[in-house]
Symmetry: C3
Subunit: 205 residues, 3 copies
């Protein structure tokens, strides 16, 4: 597979896990009907990449223009709605799916921005934006303060994944395994943070 | 009148009814001052089309670039503020104005996307987005979970209107009456849903 | 200094005061951790200009493409987090920082839109949008109904600043002092409104 094929594959995987996360959140938190579940799953899955592409001026955004992303998001969300009873245990795994999507999108978001000619600083910020964007739309649409603002160690892993991706890119290590290592660092830090309730420094009042 | 004239006329009508809906919502739900009423009316009226144009890469968005849309939205919202006492009975009609805007924008949004070269799938999704976008911004700005997620049969009529519009477009039936039939199906399904409290399948927990 | 230098300088000043405002709001209202404070400060500072540039089709938006804006926003937000105890008294000044940002961005937003070829009406609306946009994102992300809808005399001063800027631009008075006079009118009207609790006409129910 070419490097581009890998990038698309990682993006599709991120799309699927974020769609599952969004759809499970919808069922868990809001008990929405089938349209609400599919809409929230799809927006969670595609929102970060669409925001990145709008900011980069890529029209129409890849997540809407390439039917593979749209269909992956719609089908994954619909599947969660249909088979959610056997999936009931999966609700406990919402955080894991979210961390997986965070990691995959921090890689693909950063690479997309770099390919579009953005500076390293902007690429890292847009990579992290891709990773946290979908979940932020999900939280706004369900009237919750976004995880990006409140959750301990959520943006920092995304920035680590995006920064690591840039380092490998700048070094010329374009092998997918290098990028996956950056993603794994993001995933690991996020899950360690969740497990041990680590948090970033807070305001001392 | 040319086909384009009809398209503009339908868009202007959709703009007016959504502005009235947004302004009435502002008065009914939030008792805002004149600036708040006009702002919410205008964002409800123009938000869906602006979102569609940003995603399609049409700059500046038609709703902002063409003064007729901006003026229609501003004037309709201001009129609601000024004559809202005689209009008090209209508050009961908020749902009807919303359904009318939904129908008109599902037609014009789909046609705009098709004219811009979007695929059928994307055009139908962007047509429905145009229809539900303004109301979603309205709900987010007034701290409510958007109707698109919670309301029974809201997105489905919009998708029906958008899909019907695409069918007539693909068949080459470009007569405004064909498109208005698709919009009427959207309007009818929406109002039947409201009247009989129909709803899409929900999660069985 | 050239006219462009002045414009950048005013934009950077607006960026800094809005970042301080957003970061103080975060600490005051939500007690966020360091990432939350910096994120909210940065979005408050850059959000209005990014929205304007997305609507105008400027890619990537100036606030993201020009490292000076990004660094100003990040550093000002981080400083508020680090030295907020000595700054505790500053919390009382949140409104003043907000009014200063409102004034500066109503000038620079209007001029940016005019330079991009927008019509006078659109330029004034986008100037006011630049001014109120960042604060609106700040309020949405912290689950509050945006100030633009509820706060007395908030949008009107922004429109005054934007309108005044357009008048001087149309007259050919491109001296920074002329524009600053428009900004001062915005700032003055906003602070008078806050001080005397002036408000726009409300709905009589």
């Amino acid at each position: 597979m070419s490097a581009t094929d890998w990038l698309v594959l990682l993006s599709l995987a991120g799309t699927a896990v974020f769609a599952i996360n969004g759809a499970l959140t919808a069922i868990q938190a809001a008990r929405l009907d089938i349209v609400g579940v599919i809409t929230l799953g799809t927006i969670t899955a595609l929102g970060g990449g669409v925001l990145r592409d709008v900011l980069l001026g890529i029209h129409p955004p890849e997540g809407l223009a390439d039917w593979r992303f749209l269909v992956t998001a719609l089908v994954a969300s619909a599947l969660v709605f249909m088979v959610h009873k056997p999936l009931a245990r999966l609700v406990r795994w919402v955080t894991v799916f979210d961390a997986a999507g965070l990691s995959l999108f921090s890689i693909t978001g950063t690479l997309t921005a770099l390919h579009a000619g953005a500076s390293p600083l902007l690429s890292i910020i847009l990579g992290a934006t891709t990773a946290v964007g979908g979940g932020t739309f999900r939280d706004l649409l369900t009237s919750r303060v976004p995880q990006i603002l409140t959750s301990d160690l959520y943006a920092i892993p995304a920035l680590l994944g995006a920064g690591g991706t840039w380092v490998f890119w700048a070094l010329g290590w374009h092998h997918p395994l290098a990028y996956l290592a950056a993603g794994a660092a993001c995933f690991g830090l996020r899950m360690v943070g969740v497990r041990y309730k680590l948090h970033a420094p807070r305001v001392q009042v």
